[in-house]
Assembly symmetry: C2
Homo-oligomer: 299 residues x 2
Amino acid sequence: MPKVIECIPNVSEGRRADVVESIAAAVRGVPGVRLLDHSSDPSHNRSVFTFAGDAAGVTAAVLAIYERAIPAIDLRTHKGEHPRLGAVDVVPFVPIEGVTMNDCVALAKSVGAEVAARFGIPVYLYEEASNNPARKNLEDIRRGEFEGLAAKLADPQWKPDYGPAVPHATAGASIIGARMPLIAYNINLNTDRLDVATKIAAAIRQSSGGFRFVKAAGFELKDRGIVQVSMNLTNYEKTPIFRVFETVKREAERYGVSILESEIVGLVPSAALNAAAEFYLQIAGFNPEQVLENKLREP
Amino acid sequence: MPKVIECIPNVSEGRRADVVESIAAAVRGVPGVRLLDHSSDPSHNRSVFTFAGDAAGVTAAVLAIYERAIPAIDLRTHKGEHPRLGAVDVVPFVPIEGVTMNDCVALAKSVGAEVAARFGIPVYLYEEASNNPARKNLEDIRRGEFEGLAAKLADPQWKPDYGPAVPHATAGASIIGARMPLIAYNINLNTDRLDVATKIAAAIRQSSGGFRFVKAAGFELKDRGIVQVSMNLTNYEKTPIFRVFETVKREAERYGVSILESEIVGLVPSAALNAAAEFYLQIAGFNPEQVLENKLREP
């Protein structure tokens, strides 16, 4: 199988189309890298770029993003609803195919060191790349935002993993790490009772005692007269989609409610869908090499 | 998405490794074509080659197989358990990605005409490429085998679609066509009662009133003390795996028997597994473009 790493930098610019397009063009210009998607949110004043390639390719693409973002973005005047610490705020590396999480951790560290050395930007490592249990969670690292960054960096507990213990004047700091692919997954229920969706969300999410790799909340879809359990699945290998689906289905029965449908928002790794087919069809001894398309992609 | 056609020629040689290897090497030598598998059965005296590529690539690979097979194989002295009409016995083209069944039908016809013109071999079109409902089924076309071929070709009802109405002296005739991918799928039952597997096989297969695109038989797995419903699914779009699985499960309940496991033998198209995930997870509005690996393969 080819070696494929996905990278999803979050950049603090979501209003000026010329800046966003210049960054997208920089990614497209890197050989061996494919820009899969980019989207901007003006109220957040933030853009998300999704691309994939091998280690050398995604490294070159990340550095190209910094080259474009640093002169164009000034955090001292940046306003937006989404919390941010830097111009290139968050850079996760995600193993997709033929690479391990350890490979992505090593990549996060080498890119973090390079960003600090080349641009003078303090870098925090996060999630699987974190060297410190207290500095694993993105929200904890970002707390205080750019405006509180100088004070945070001066705290010995928040000495950055790479680079100076003072903010880059305009680009702040960056948070670079490795994580599993995230699947945005919603289940719509055959009811307009928000309390049912809310209770099921509480039952399945880690924060209130549910599955370790599930974040969930209940919402009303008022135009359709139904409710939704909206989820992020943060590790589909350890908390697979089918287990979450079956648990939601069983919990809903408790209230006399059934599942209307589910939906996957955005991209999903093939392996996450195959795992559902394996489970329900009780397939024994399944090997990803049996999937015709995987054979076709072998180098 | 890239354009991918699978081709699975069946060649009447399964004992002489040098001949088989020479044919495999010819396929490997065609640019843009990937040889995915080849296997030989000495008792059948027959080899199956599986490769994929675009229309120009698979055409070149098929012609290369004839170039090697014709001088090496003489049907007048060929013996084997498997029925056969020619040295290159059967050549199916299968749509995998970015191509329609109509594209594969057109390809079967152009390759059939070329084989007849270049090598003087009579060619019958079969399955989706057939021009004649009475000559659609492979077994019907092959009945009489090489030994009865001269008489068959002389019958006006069996005039070949391309080429002379007399056999090639050593290479016989060829059967060239287009079909959907075939999935070899078995379901193992938690019982040693062969009659249960046999009755379920009869319930689900087309020939005795079941699903249109299912061939099935019951077998004993004596070493494991269980029985198996062994199937070929000949059109996974119209008769999907999950529907067959659920029907077998329900029929088994009738006898107090449960499903132990199922197994996919050999290759399976990604879309066939995704359809099972969509069904069981009740995914609404699923688009193959959401599968990350499909995005990566776009040209």
